[in-house]
Symmetry: C2
Subunit: 134 residues, 2 copies
């Protein structure tokens, strides 16, 4: 990874650590910041850096491998591979809608302004769908 | 609640059932669809309707009471109360940013188009911040 991976674990979060790691790597993968051919840090090294058990990192890598992002051949470590464009399943669409509603309702309840939220959303969208804005 | 509450529990979800119930009620509360004075269904009735343990519903109600949405006086059931506008804490802002990034990256990875996601986001924002758009 370029310099050091900028991954952070929030121990106070209800989201399990492996899912936090997978989510952050997925965002980097989606944004093209970890291109095909890139080798991820060895499980034990990243686990040390993040202060988590190596099984936690291994599970994050396996999650991403199952999604088609990584090749996990023994001895070679985790390597980013070319991934086919996906078509979302009905389940994935419903899941997304529910989670987005829950998240945005929480933001509104916490007092975030619609402007602040919209701005953040737009910045994210242009980062994650770089060059795909059609 | 008007007619029947349209709450659904997704047993396949990684989100605990109580949090799903709280999130769906919070969205209704934020959108003004459960105005102050409205009485929520008794814990045991909603638990039966949803097919969950009554403690699950009780925990969802308690979560919302802790957030200032509900009054839970014994014997009266759960009643929606007037809630002060909140100012988001730094922690809540950071939490929101992380979760939004994780969610939108997952959507992009699943192949949802930026247009579909943006459309959904806008519909939600206008529902949840009704009359507060700037």
């Amino acid at each position: 990874m370029p310099a050091q991976p900028i991954l952070r674990i929030d121990l106070a979060s209800a989201v399990p650590a492996y899912a936090q790691i997978a989510a952050q790597l997925r965002a980097l993968l989606v944004a093209g910041e970890l291109p095909p051919g890139r080798r991820l840090p060895p499980v034990r090294q990243l686990a040390l850096d993040l202060g988590v058990h190596h099984n936690t990192v291994a599970l994050a890598y396996r999650t991403l491998a199952d999604e088609g992002w990584l090749d996990l051949r023994r001895g070679r470590g985790a390597v980013v591979i070319e991934r086919r464009e996906q078509r979302p399943s009905a389940r994935e669409k419903t899941d997304f809608s529910r989670r987005l509603e829950a998240l945005v309702a929480k933001a509104a309840a916490d007092g975030l302004s619609p402007q602040a939220v919209a701005k953040e959303f737009e910045a994210l969208a242009s980062k994650l769908w770089k060059g795909k804005k059609s």
